[in-house]
């Protein structure tokens, strides 16, 4: 309850819903008979899982964009790197069950006539090592990249463009066969994870639950960071970077921290995403993917914590529906969404509602003051101030 009060009821409700979904969806899928009206069909479980991973990714972006004002157009790269790390583990788990039956080498390496596993594949047969890499690789990349970028005060649009260039460079790199990550086809044909068959309903339900738990923890974590003193500093950097610097803070460290944490979150999202969709390929690095993440956060409302989660779920649900019904129409929709959100709804859905609510309260307070009523009872002091 202290937590709920600290984070506000909305975040608490969101976490509660996500955790409830983590239990209810798998339960209804596994326990209820297929004829039951509340039964969730098996094909929907990984789809929902995918949405949850996207929500986590959008939340990661919100941490840097919404709270620190860094518009990263390269978060898809961190997502994909986490995905590749998990994919490499899953690849090694195939063992001798591949098409070529090689116990060590994945199929594509046999196909390319490789004789032994490249050094950077060592250790990926261990789950713990893969998990470590899921966190370390995107985190390290973001740290190094951010260190140089923020130190030399690359800001605003320039930063956006070089993050986009980063993911573009990685896209080109991962398309190469001799990189040793499966080239164009990427990593796929996974068999099992931690010994559980990956196609099985129970595994998928478990992965879904894990994604939900990860999302819930991430929401609480981001909520905690942004409401801490550091979070206030982040917002200060976002709104007045020079002024923050003049007061004596080091904005580049704040940015670097947020960027790295955010990249790690994106990597975890990617790692949870890959076993559920069953493939990771260089297409995930495409700059368009990263920009789509931005629109999720923008639609939901950046800097609102629950907005990006909502936005990711809404936009992706829309995408699923529209690409099935009117595949031609989806890009028009997405493009229109960009224009609409920036022109009409710059605060996003949640931000607009908040803003409207604040404005409503402000007018009511003003009216109450006019009427000479003493102070107005609804002028609750904001604990954040």
């Amino acid at each position: 309850m202290i937590l709920a009060r600290f984070l506000g009821p909305r975040v608490f409700i969101l976490v509660a819903i996500v955790l409830a979904a983590a239990i209810l969806v798998p339960a209804s899928n596994l326990l209820l008979p297929a004829s039951h009206p509340l039964h969730v069909p098996s094909y929907l479980v990984p789809l929902f899982g995918k949405y949850v991973c996207y929500a986590l990714l959008a939340l990661a972006l919100d941490l840097v964009w919404g709270y620190v004002g860094i518009l990263s157009l390269g978060h898809g790269a961190f997502f994909a790197l986490g995905g590749y790390a998990m994919g490499m583990y899953l690849m090694r788990q195939i063992g001798p069950r591949g098409v070529y039956g090689n116990p060590i080498l994945p199929d594509f390496m046999v196909f390319l006539n490789w004789k032994e596993l490249p050094w950077y594949w060592t250790g990926f047969d261990q789950f713990w090592f893969a998990c470590l890499m899921v966190v370390l690789v995107p985190g390290l990349l973001a740290f190094v990249f951010g260190f140089f970028a923020f130190r030399s005060r690359v800001t605003g649009v320039y930063l956006s463009i070089i993050t986009q260039a980063m993911t573009y460079a990685l896209l080109l790199a991962f398309f190469r066969n001799d990189m040793g990550f499966g080239g164009n086809n990427g990593l796929t044909d996974f068999k099992d994870i931690l010994g559980f068959p990956i196609q099985a309903g129970s595994t998928r339900a478990g992965l879904f639950a894990a994604s939900c738990v990860a999302l819930a923890i991430a929401v609480l974590f981001v909520g905690w960071i942004t409401r801490s003193k550091l979070g206030k500093l982040m917002i200060a950097v976002r709104d007045a970077e020079s002024r923050t610097r003049f007061i004596g803070w080091r904005p580049e460290y704040v940015k670097l921290f947020a960027f790295t944490v955010s990249a790690v979150m994106a990597g975890i999202a990617g790692a949870l995403y890959v076993p559920q969709v069953g493939i990771i390929n260089p297409g995930e690095f495409a700059p368009v993917n990263s920009i789509e993440v931005v629109v999720w956060a923008a639609v939901g409302g950046r800097g609102t914590l629950i907005g990006p989660v909502l936005g990711a779920l809404l936009v992706n649900y829309g995408k699923t529906v529209f690409t099935a019904v009117l595949p031609e129409f989806w890009l028009f929709m997405l493009g229109g969404l960009f224009v609409f959100v920036t022109l009409v709804l710059p605060r996003g859905i949640v931000g607009t509602i908040d803003h409207g609510f604040d404005a409503f309260r402000a007018t009511r307070r003003a009216r109450a003051a006019e009427k000479g009523e003493a102070g107005g009872q609804d002028a609750v002091p904001n604990p954040a101030e």
Binding site: A149, Y158, A165, L331, G335, L337, F338
Partner: protein
């Protein structure tokens, strides 16, 4: 071009053989017209081959037509009288021509003709015979081609005919080629080693890859130490020559890539560099220009095929108008609401780019569209050891012309003056009576229109597909950022530098890795100089 050469040869051959045969070395007693008739009637391959050498021995230019027809399987004899003709299919029947003069001799039914049978050895004999024949052709270009053919064949039998031809040759350029051909023949012949060493020197002077191959083969095979030494020093000379031309070729490719980058980025230098608007739909403006070219060519093909040579000239203003109009609409209805909010501009224009891409995909389909090259854009010529294609050359020229024109517009026209005034001090410009919103709109339209013009040029070398623009957008931003925002010269230098660096990295790192290295280098460069190569200084720099 490869397809063009045989065609040209054929044309030339036809022209020459149609002319009355007044060639060198014609032996009066042998009548080619009579010999050609020996192809008639059923006979063995050996007999046919003998006729070929007999024909070649006449040295008569006119027999080339018959020989070529023989090689291509177009030589027939009439069953009724065993007379020989060149025949081409005409509907169900064949039109027949005299094998020497090429005059039409009417049409005959298919069943009346029998083909003169050939096999590969005969075809080779024909090719050799044609080479000898053309060494004595009237046209120097033809003689030169013959010498080149003989050079690459390196046939020891040809030394003597070549000697004769060299003695008779008057054109110094052709003579050199013939001497080179002779040298290549001497290397593989059983002539004395001194002569071979001299031949190696001749090849060294020629200095191309083919000479290198021939010399390497010779150096490996020869037993004579002096000749081997001569060959090896020749190889070293050629290798350094080739290395030089490789560098030259790299520079050329780099300039070519740089001009493409310049074209793609120059419009962005206006919208992003001068106005500070992040236009992610810039690539789509380029794409619209390319599709305008496609539509113009389609209309011309359907209505006035004669105008095809001018299709690009017609497309240029149209592409400028189309992309410029789209840019104007974008500025009026979208971007002007977002001035001062660069991140939002980025997102909104990205949305526009998605919409434009999908619109083009819906209208024209997702696949590549064929945009033809007018004649002046096709083909290539050689400079030393490097090959220069006309379309690349014209694109470099075009990019520089567009660049110069833009400089003129910015520095010498009232609109340019107002643009600079507005970007430097908006409020002061407004106070002076400049309609700043209008100038904003026109500036954006100008930048977009130039992107459209770039699309016309890029349609000549790239696939015209809805994704055309995406490939250029990141590169364009890199060029503008690298060169320095708000500086057209920076864009020029940035584009050319990136182009050349890219092409020099490619041999070591491969095309993709080279590109990645360039991206990383730019990222590092931005760290070092966040405002680009030619950073603006003084009062224009924003806070």
């Amino acid at each position: 071009m490869n397809r063009l050469i045989p065609w040209l040869l054929l044309c030339l051959g036809a022209l020459l053989s149609a002319a009355p045969g007044a060639a060198f070395g014609q032996t009066p007693e042998a009548d080619p017209a009579a010999i050609v008739q020996k192809f008639g009637g059923k006979q063995s391959f050996d007999a046919t081959e003998a006729v070929v050498s007999e024909l070649a021995a006449t040295g008569d230019e006119r027999v080339a037509r018959a020989l070529r027809a023989l090689r291509d399987g177009d030589l027939y004899w009439r069953k009724s009288d065993e007379k020989v003709f060149v025949a081409t299919r005409k509907g169900d029947d064949y039109e027949i021509f005299d094998p020497l003069s090429g005059d039409s001799a009417g049409t005959v039914a298919k069943g009346d003709l029998e083909k003169v049978r050939v096999k590969n050895s005969i075809r080779n004999a024909v090719t050799g015979a044609l080479g000898t024949l053309t060494l004595r052709a009237d046209n120097p270009a033809q003689r030169m081609r013959a010498a080149d053919t003989l050079f690459s064949e390196g046939d020891p039998e040809m030394v003597a005919p070549l000697d004769a031809a060299i003695a008779a040759e008057t054109d110094p350029a052709v003579k050199t080629r013939m001497q080179e051909a002779r040298a290549s023949a001497v290397l593989v012949s059983d002539r004395p080693a001194e002569e071979k060493a001299a031949a190696a020197k001749v090849l060294a002077a020629r200095g191309d890859r083919e000479s290198l191959n021939k010399l390497t083969a010779f150096a490996a095979a020869t037993g004579d130490a002096a000749a081997k030494k001569a060959a090896e020093s020749a190889i070293a000379a050629i290798e350094s020559n080739i290395a030089f031309w490789n560098q030259a070729q790299n520079v050329w490719y780099g300039l070519s890539l740089g001009s493409v980058l310049l074209l793609a980025a120059i419009g962005l230098a206006i919208t992003f560099g001068v106005m500070g608007v992040i236009n992610m739909a810039h690539g789509e403006m380029v794409m619209l220009g390319a599709y305008t070219t496609f539509v113009v060519q389609e209309v011309i093909r359907a209505n006035a095929p004669g105008l095809f040579e001018f299709s690009l000239a017609i497309a240029l203003p149209l592409a400028f108008l189309v992309s410029g109009a789209v840019g104007l609409v974008m500025e009026r209805f979208l971007i002007r609401f977002l001035y001062g909010r660069p991140l939002e501009t980025l997102l909104a224009t990205f949305g526009v780019s998605l919409i434009l891409q999908q619109a083009v995909r819906t209208i024209f389909g997702p696949s590549n569209r064929q945009v033809g090259n007018p004649d002046f854009m096709s083909g290539a010529f050689d400079v030393g050891l490097m090959s220069v294609t006309w379309n690349r050359l014209w694109i470099i020229v075009f990019a520089l012309v567009v660049f110069a024109a833009l400089l003129l517009v910015l520095n010498r026209t009232p609109l340019g003056l107002q643009m600079r005034a507005v970007t430097q001090n908006r409020r002061m410009a407004a106070a002076m009576g400049i309609r700043t919103p209008w100038v904003d709109a026109l500036t954006f339209a100008l930048g977009s229109g130039i992107a459209g013009i770039a699309g016309v040029a890029l349609s000549q070398i790239d696939n015209v597909s809805p994704n055309l623009g995406q490939g250029y957008i990141i590169d364009s931003f890199m060029v503008v950022v690298f060169g320095g925002v708000g500086n057209l010269w920076g864009t020029l230098v940035g584009a050319m530098t990136l182009g050349i660096v890219n092409k020099f990295l490619e041999p070591f790192a491969g095309a993709v890795l080279g590109k990645i290295v360039v991206l990383v280098l730019i990222i590092l460069f931005i760290q070092k100089r966040p405002r680009g190569l030619f950073a603006q200084k003084g009062r224009f720099v924003d806070a």
